[in-house]
Symmetry: C2
């Protein structure tokens, strides 16, 4: 038993069965109590459909374009026309100066991050991430035998802990991965934060005689509320690479479509571009799905109905804080980050389950003592959960 | 310069520039002589469009299915209904006994092979392949720090060299990758071949106390001519896993859609299934593209117009052999494998170029002295190339 899959995968399958157990438990609860009586805030899956322009674009393209070209191979980097339109779109929005050679289409952001990590990382090098962080970063890093270095959370405002960051950069540091708007906190990294990170990396790479790349994971870039702006990282540091996904902005997570940005200003830009194109091929992506490439290029100015998420956000934030819970005010993504009253997320998750509320403990994000509430759920789920959250608050004598 | 991408990728980018140079030269020749006067047999890209049922299915699904479910996340393994229909289809066709748990949807065959390799391979283990072989296998193997062991070609009929195979199996052998119909020869491995391979693996795995998996790479399974049958490998060896792609059968190479088959009979079947599902996630595929999953499940009984390839095959085979060239008779795929008269493929490729004929030397497939002719080109290209091939034959005094 178990002697034949790889040792690394054996470890992962063991870890994975815990997640699966939770998922199965949720399904069992829905069966037992009725789906409408279970408040499942555990999954970060869009619940707003794609804007109508997406399906309109599919119909239009399938009816009017040459089928051989539409479903055929193109350059591993993606259709030139699509990449060119994306470059123009970014330039217009952020005042950058990209062209199609700076854009490589990817199988979502997860595909893009793996392509960049494969291109950049030698075994034993280090990837720095700021807690709380998306736990898959650990696997993506281990895929290339590099080591993830976690900077402990700054629980004041969940901007990165800059002091510890500066201390933990070594001669082995190759990549700093950032994620803003952040999963799991919903916090947007400020311009000040990006300037600080950029300055420190310039100083440290000079000190060590190395180049250090920022990889900015941006699936939630378009999901921001009010008049918040998400600064574009390539403007603050020359060795900044971007991984974007349309999964959330267009509610297309199943279609696996995104892109990476490799600016000309980056050191070894040509090598990174060529490397990323080859990595796209040899990791088995070959190219990102062809029809959907063309679809997103026609929907760059569209967005899923983020007003819906915003209203969920405001209802939950106001209610939970009024019950006495301490929450980070989220400016983006669809997550609320809640401090557990007794500083024990495992215990709190268990207690919440008594009220049919399903949450994810943030120990798995490198930030124990907090829980993530994914509010990409129906309005009904949000509204019906409020009395239950209130009971939960009472159990902890918060109100 | 060049100090910042990974050492492995640096090596690949150097190798890749040779391929790019050839591709660029082809484009230059087309510009110089006119596209119709260049006979480009170098690329294995389908040139027959997808059957009309594919676009009909897209329109039907987009108009009638729930958009949130259609473009949303599903299990990393793919939609259960799609996997179930594929299992039924295989069972009906090959008398197997699969269900949806045996099928995992993948990003093409390249994605599927990487998922299986990631699941199975520890660093230092060995993957055996039979020359001539698809050269990307080397990169897929190196992705997981395993070593590719190449069995030299049997140039009599291009069935695998069974004797050398038996000798080269070691305690480190974890995977034997086979590819039938074969790229680059077009040869279909016979039932006798599969029986021999199975018997040897049973013997050797007992001898070494190991399990050895066959991974069958099958993008060309449906592209066979006449009444040739491609035996289904899981019927001949219990530890046989299949990687399938719809790229060629439905002419959808750009859409990146395929599946892997993990039979219950395989040792550690449950672990491999779970491992492969996790590998799908952590390699960054997450799942294969959602809309296209549903499309292929509605087109399982359709095929691109392979009569077209068959006619190209017969025209070229008859003409080339009549000019005195020695060719393997291909039963499948869209490749013709030609022995170079002076046993020097690099020289022959160069000489052919004088006649505007573009071929790929088979040294890159581990079989020097041969060239691959990819006949997935227009009828006009085939017909207009014949007088040029005749001149080429004359230059070598073959006719």
């Amino acid at each position: 038993m178990g002697k034949m899959i790889s040792d690394k995968m054996k470890r992962y399958t063991q870890g994975n069965s815990a997640i699966r157990a939770m998922f199965e438990e949720g399904k069992q609860m829905a069966k037992k109590f009725g789906k409408e009586n279970v408040y499942d805030f555990s999954l970060g899956n869009p619940n707003v459909p794609a804007p109508k322009e997406v399906n309109e674009a599919i119909l239009d393209i399938v009816k009017n374009e040459n089928s051989l070209e539409l479903h055929g191979y193109m350059s591993n980097a993606g259709y030139e026309s699509v990449r060119s339109e994306i470059a123009d779109f970014i330039n217009k929005k952020h005042g950058t100066n990209f062209n199609e050679s700076n854009i490589i289409m990817t199988v979502g952001a997860a595909g893009g991050l793996n392509v960049l990590f494969k291109t950049l990382l030698n075994p034993g090098e280090e990837v720095i991430t700021f807690a709380p962080f998306f736990s898959e970063y650990r696997m993506y890093t281990e895929n290339y035998d590099a080591n993830l270095v976690v900077i402990s959370p700054n629980t004041v405002d969940f901007q990165p802990n800059i002091k510890e960051f500066e201390e933990k950069i070594t001669v082995k540091t190759k990549v700093v991965i950032i994620n803003s708007p952040n999963n799991p906190t919903g916090v947007v990294y400020s311009e000040e934060t990006l300037i600080s990170i950029g300055k420190i990396l310039e100083k440290k790479s000079k000190e060590f005689g190395t180049d250090i790349y920022i990889v900015s994971d941006e699936p939630y870039r378009e999901l921001v509320y009010g008049d918040i702006e998400v600064p574009y990282v390539t403007k603050y540091y020359k060795n900044a690479l971007v991984g974007y996904s349309f999964s959330k902005s267009l509610s297309l997570p199943g279609e696996r479509i995104g892109y990476i940005v490799i600016p000309d200003e980056a050191d070894d830009s040509e090598l990174i571009k060529n490397g990323a194109i080859i990595a796209t091929r040899i990791l088995g992506f070959v190219n990102s799905p062809s029809l959907i490439q063309k679809v997103v290029s026609k929907c760059l100015n569209c967005k899923a109905d983020i007003e819906f998420y915003d209203k969920n956000r405001r209802i939950l934030y106001e209610a939970l804080t009024s019950y006495g819970f301490e929450c980070t005010k989220p400016d983006g993504a669809f997550y609320l980050f809640l401090k557990t009253p007794n500083n024990d997320d495992a215990e709190f998750v268990k207690t919440a389950k008594k009220y049919n509320i399903l949450l994810v403990g943030a120990a798995s994000f490198g930030c124990p003592g907090y829980v993530r509430i994914a509010y990409c759920v129906s309005r009904q789920t949000v509204e019906n959960s409020l009395p239950k959250f209130k009971e939960l608050a009472k159990e902890y004598s918060l109100c």
